[in-house]
């Protein structure tokens, strides 16, 4: 890392004024050479101001598009500005910026296109409810079977993507349940991915978008979306004759 590559950290944020500043500052402390882009997804609080004060570039969407739309806007920025590597980090502070180095190293050493941060491999202790763990186990099983590769944590939003993946995501990014669906998309487009053990901490503020009661409903919807994705036509990659 740092060998002349342009690296962009993309932080999608929707009303995260309580934590976004701290996350940006931490990233700057640990990785002074990277640029930080906060995508404010139609936030109605002071998210943009906090991010600007902390030294991030802020992309302000005119209204709320959801995590997928915000993330894609970030990838479009990365693509147009010619960044070599883009890293997704959540604005709520559950992703430790110290771990970004691991993702970057994996990208380089394993020769993969996307490095997925996983809470469940290695010695990283992650506490979560039983329901949540069962849900993630089912997800992990289904997605691993589809992509023919062990994916332990498909819902993790802590990822690093190289130029090829940036290009794909800029033109094509799943909107409904972006994290697990993106894994399937990567597989369809024959991009290589690999998991990296990362530690994740408790969020600084805010609640998970998945509450316990809704988690079953959420799971069914995501599995359905993934099932549909399997039958979708893979998108064209720019500059390539065949389908990607």
């Amino acid at each position: 890392m740092g060998n002349g590559q342009n690296i962009l950290v993309i932080i999608p944020a929707y009303n995260e004024e309580g934590s976004v500043g701290k996350v940006v500052e931490e990233i700057h402390t640990h990785l002074p050479q990277v640029e930080v882009l906060v995508v404010s997804d139609g936030s109605t609080d002071r998210t943009s101001e906090r991010a600007k004060v902390s030294g991030a570039t802020v992309l302000e969407l005119p209204f709320n598009l959801g995590i997928g739309g915000a993330m894609q806007a970030g990838y479009k920025y990365a693509y147009e500005k010619g960044y070599d590597i883009a890293i997704q980090v959540d604005a709520d502070g559950q992703h430790d910026p110290k771990e970004i180095g691991k993702l970057l190293r994996a990208l380089e050493e394993k020769k993969i296109d996307v490095a997925l941060g996983s809470r469940f491999i290695g010695d990283s202790e992650y506490k979560s409810s039983v329901m949540r763990r069962i849900g993630i186990a089912i997800f992990s099983g289904v997605i691993s079977a589809i992509v023919k590769q062990k994916i332990t944590d498909p819902t993790s939003g802590f990822r690093a993507a190289n130029r090829k993946a940036i290009e794909l995501f800029a033109s094509n990014y799943p909107q409904d349940y972006p994290e697990p669906e993106a894994v399937v998309l990567l597989h369809q487009c024959r991009l290589k991915m690999g998991e990296v053990p990362v530690g994740m901490s408790e969020r600084y503020s805010g609640e998970s978008s998945i509450t316990r009661i809704r988690s079953v409903y959420y799971m069914v919807k995501v599995l359905l979306a993934i099932f549909v994705d399997c039958f979708k036509k893979p998108p064209f990659l720019r500059g390539e004759e065949e389908r990607c």
Partner: protein, 126 residues
Amino acid sequence: MLIKVQIVVGLLSIFLLWTTFELVRKNRLREEYAILWLFSGVVVLVFSLWPEFLLSQFFARITGIFYLSAVVVITFLFLLLIVLHFSVVISKLTNQNKDLAQRYALLELEFKELSRRCFPSDRTPL
């Protein structure tokens, strides 16, 4: 009995056709969306004028339902088709809307960057 149903269904279809036509004429409905409505209006009108019409007979035979029910079922099928069409249109619009919002945000950022670089002394916050 049958003639009553015929009159009601006929009036309804004429009303539907007239409304669609007026909306298109006043530019409040795009032609591409009007076609399905006009077509369903015409079909229902045909049904009310000729209850012995081939399709309604056919429908009655294969489903064992009577004339009025056949008209209702066929109208319902058309409504299903129209709703499905709208879902497709809404999906397309949502996608275009998302792309526009992203493009807008990227251009706005670019613009702010440019104006900051061109007029560094100008301290007006954008």
